[in-house]
Symmetry: C2
Subunit: 197 residues, 2 copies
DNA sequence: CCTACCGATCGGTAGG
DNA sequence: CCTACCGATCGGTAGG
């Protein structure tokens, strides 16, 4: 776990505002002038706080990756617990990250491709490792007879896909609280739609 | 169902090449000069075939929408069939569209936000109608006692999310054929992961 | 389909 | 944090 130094308040504010714009309009279509205006600054002034537009994207993407790994690690700390329990906790942890900052999550999910190399490759490697962690947990569950699927990799991809759609429709002021959402997602993914399946 | 006139070959080629670029780099980050180069033309020459960059995006997004609706309509033609069967066929139809042109599907899923109004609003209305069709089918299944879920809207969103992740990893040369993918997705979504659930 | 070009806007910098 | 500016590149057009 690489530890990240806390950002100066102004820099954190730039990241937050940029994240909202990147989410709404996409990284490439967001100009530094728009960002500056949203912050009440001139464009050139941004560069006394940051080095480049991509630096912001880098911080958002890798910061979220760190949050996801931390959540998964906490959820699976007790390796002797039933795998279904660990999986449910991992799902809840993932949903908690997605809902606690859905703008940053959307950027993490969709804008990473605008990272230039080598950051882009490093990011994809992290994402692969995270998917692998879910895959291995599911495989463990199948081996223990707790879970059932014809294809572990397939199951992991589908599970994460269902979760990662959340930032597209989640609204903090909506009627479902994050924990309730996590619970329903876990239930539906574990039990399926079929009656008395 | 609005009928679309067939495109002249050159225009169709421009759309295909642009779609691949939009998918790989995003709409905003793809320049008309890149597109022209990929086609072996000069940038200005593109405009004897198309009116604007956005016109291409418009055609791709609305063309895919038409394909999705046509697939759903065919899958649910026989309204007296068991709802589980209709749902399975709708899933298969959706997957068939996604796999038959995964580049256009990825653009449909992620680049529509670069449409300007009123096209953007029209697109979102179509997407909502499509989600509603799945939601109503699931609701019908719950009413008939064939399906089970605490929240129909939630179930529809999760189902489509799982399917729509496909273009992110599907490769035509991969080991799973589209029909096999559709079958496994339907099976997993209907039955869930839990053993003897 | 090309050549030559337009005005607008881009990310970023120098100097204060 | 601002003013003033850089070179590069953008989508698109005129005229042939």
């Amino acid at each position: 776990m690489s530890t990240t130094a806390p950002l100066r308040p102004r820099k954190a504010q730039i990241d937050r505002t940029a994240t909202a714009l990147f989410r709404a309009r996409g990284f490439a279509a967001t100009s530094m002038r728009e960002l500056a205006t949203a912050l009440g600054l001139e464009a050139g002034s941004l560069y006394s706080h940051i080095k480049s537009k991509e630096e912001i994207l880098h911080r958002v993407c890798f910061g979220l990756a760190e949050s996801f790994f931390a959540g998964f690690a906490a959820a699976t700390l007790d390796a002797t617990a039933p795998v279904a329990t660990q999986l449910r906790q991992a799902i809840e942890a993932h949903v908690r990250v997605l809902t606690s900052d859905s703008a940053a999550s959307a950027v993490f999910l969709h804008e990473w491709r605008h990272l230039s190399e080598p950051a882009r490759g490093e990011f994809l490697a992290l994402r692969d490792r995270y998917e692998a962690a879910f895959r291995e947990l599911i495989a463990k569950g199948v081996a223990a007879g707790e879970l059932h699927t014809p294809d572990t990799a397939f199951a992991a991809l589908t599970l994460l896909a269902s979760l990662n759609w959340l930032p597209a429709w989640y609204r903090p002021e909506g009627k479902l609280a994050p924990d309730e959402i996590a619970h329903r997602l876990a239930e539906q993914l574990l039990s399926g739609l079929r009656h008395d399946g």
